[in-house]
Symmetry: C2
Subunit: 334 residues, 2 copies
């Protein structure tokens, strides 16, 4: 992947993914050019993924590429931004086959088409280590309208899109660590391998959500980040957290999985706060987009996240998995 190979890979596999964006200059220049924009802010994010850490080394290459795109688009959606471009930095292990690269580029192309974006730049290098990828993603949002983590108000309701916990259970499913019917195993593993970023929903939350982010580290941890940024506390009702049929089945078999569902990562759903006046428009939006939106709690004065069980009692330390989880949260205070 050094010297001519790099140029060949770029020219043959990646340059077609830049065609729709003139400022990408066909990936034949040193940099890409974004046209002036007097009205919109550009929203920029970057995420890195390492084989064996963020995906399984034998995951299909097209799904690796698509996961890379999607985790980044999820960040943009969380800010209310519409994505338009990505840049790829890829360190490919020595001996990566042409077939692997083609399948990777194919997956990248699938999502570039699906989400209406373009690959506008990149760098491909060789590594003696594991496949290491980073993607910079860029989107647009009307000036001053981006949804930040810091805007929540006491009294706001806490909402999530879709279902929670499938990503974490999906990793176990992909590793053969769950005993569930095959259709549930397949559904969960698919959610782990191929996130569904809420690209359509995000921009529609502008003006409705007071604060927001995506759920990538785990619902409770991420809500903790939102609380810190907004200088507030949050109380959520565990029974209200929306679960997929597969996650519900897993929980019915093993109640201790509740902690995994609420604190596991890789959901890539949107988590946001909104005033109660936004409830009707949010439910209308959910109906219109076909994206479930569920109120799971509320923001309050104070700090930290409290999870209530079905009987309204706070899930406390000393309950197995929760002890470790709570210690982690304390340690993460930034």
């Amino acid at each position: 992947m050094s010297g001519p190979d790099e140029f060949q890979v770029i020219a043959q596999l990646f340059a077609p993914l830049a065609q729709s964006f003139p400022g990408a200059l066909g990936l034949t220049d040193d940099a890409a050019l974004l046209p002036p924009d007097a009205l919109a802010e550009t929203v920029v994010t970057v995420d890195a993924m390492v084989a064996g850490v963020h995906f399984l080394p034998d995951d299909p290459p097209d799904l690796v590429a698509r996961k890379l795109v999607r985790v980044n688009l999820s960040d943009l959606a969380a800010k209310g931004a519409l994505p338009f471009a990505v840049l790829l930095a890829a360190a490919f292990p020595h001996g990566t086959s042409q077939d692997w690269l083609e399948r990777f580029a194919h997956g990248l192309g699938q999502d570039i088409t699906e989400f209406g974006i373009a690959l506008i730049g990149g760098d491909t290098v060789a590594t003696p280590g594991p496949l290491t990828l980073s993607l910079t993603a860029m989107g647009k949002v009307a000036a001053g309208r981006a949804i930040l983590r810091s805007g929540a108000q006491a009294g706001d309701m806490v909402w999530v899109s879709g279902t929670i916990g499938d990503g974490a259970l999906g990793l176990r499913a992909a590793r053969g660590q769950l005993s569930l019917p095959p259709e549930h195993i397949a559904a969960l593993a698919d959610r782990y391998r191929l996130p569904r970023p809420r690209v359509s929903l995000g921009p529609c939350l502008v003006g409705l959500a007071s604060a927001g982010m995506d759920v990538s580290d785990g619902l409770v941890q991420d809500l903790g980040h939102l609380c810190r940024a907004s200088h507030l506390a949050a109380i959520i009702d565990a029974a209200a957290v929306p679960l997929s049929p597969a996650a519900r089945a897993a929980l019915d078999l093993d109640q201790s999985l509740l902690a995994t569902l609420l604190t596991g990562g890789d959901d890539y759903e949107l988590l946001f706060a909104a005033p109660s006046s936004a409830t009707a428009p949010l439910l209308e939006l959910a109906e219109r987009l076909g994206v479930p939106l569920t109120a799971i709690g509320r923001m309050e004065a104070g700090s930290g996240v409290t999870v209530h069980d079905a009987s309204g009692r706070a899930l406390s330390l000393g309950q197995g998995g929760w002890r470790h989880f709570s210690a982690t949260i304390s340690g993460a205070g930034a």
Copy 2:
């Protein structure tokens, strides 16, 4: 570097580097916000570096960080853009010490201050492999004025800034593979470890250069890229290529190093084409900025790069190192 460690590193070491840019949101949100700009294009580039491939594993961590910044700023300078922000994706090996991270962040901070930019986003992850870094850099250039590789005209002169070949000799010097006086060894190794991107020069070339890029893969290869993008040929005069005193001393001892000087990478000088009418303003600019600018050849109809020796003969295949080099160039045709 997973879980709380990641947040601590970001908060303690990297967040201060974001302070000057409000849209970085203190690195506490999912993405950064760039304000609208009605007049300028945003120029974006990304470069990846792997320990043992792009830098020596025992290179000082502050210099690793600064090299990462500088190779990217060099790309922006080549487009005539003034840099304003970078985003870092870093895969740190397990067991990377706090001391190493602090020195890395210190180097990053030095260059962020020196070049008047900000760190506006990032992602830090753990890797079982070598340190793998990628940096996305962003700059501004007046709309429609960016210097592309594709704008050269037949008859334009070919120019380079600074001196050529020090990066390639510097790698050998750093590895103890050159027999030269210690001051030359130190000067060359320093050039390899700490590029001097032409950040001040680049924006001043807008309106003077017809095409341009930076010299990162090697002078002749990079001029080949410019020729292809401009659909032209180039002829350069080897004797006109500016050399540092250290490179001159090395060449005096071993004439076969000429190929290394002209085709080695890591110079991070600017290579550009300009009409002869720009000669006087360019020489005035060189004087004003204190940056040497040297005309080394011209653009012509045709394709490919021809290098003339001191007697005006084309350096041909069959001259040792040149054969391999020529084969590489042929293979790199994109």
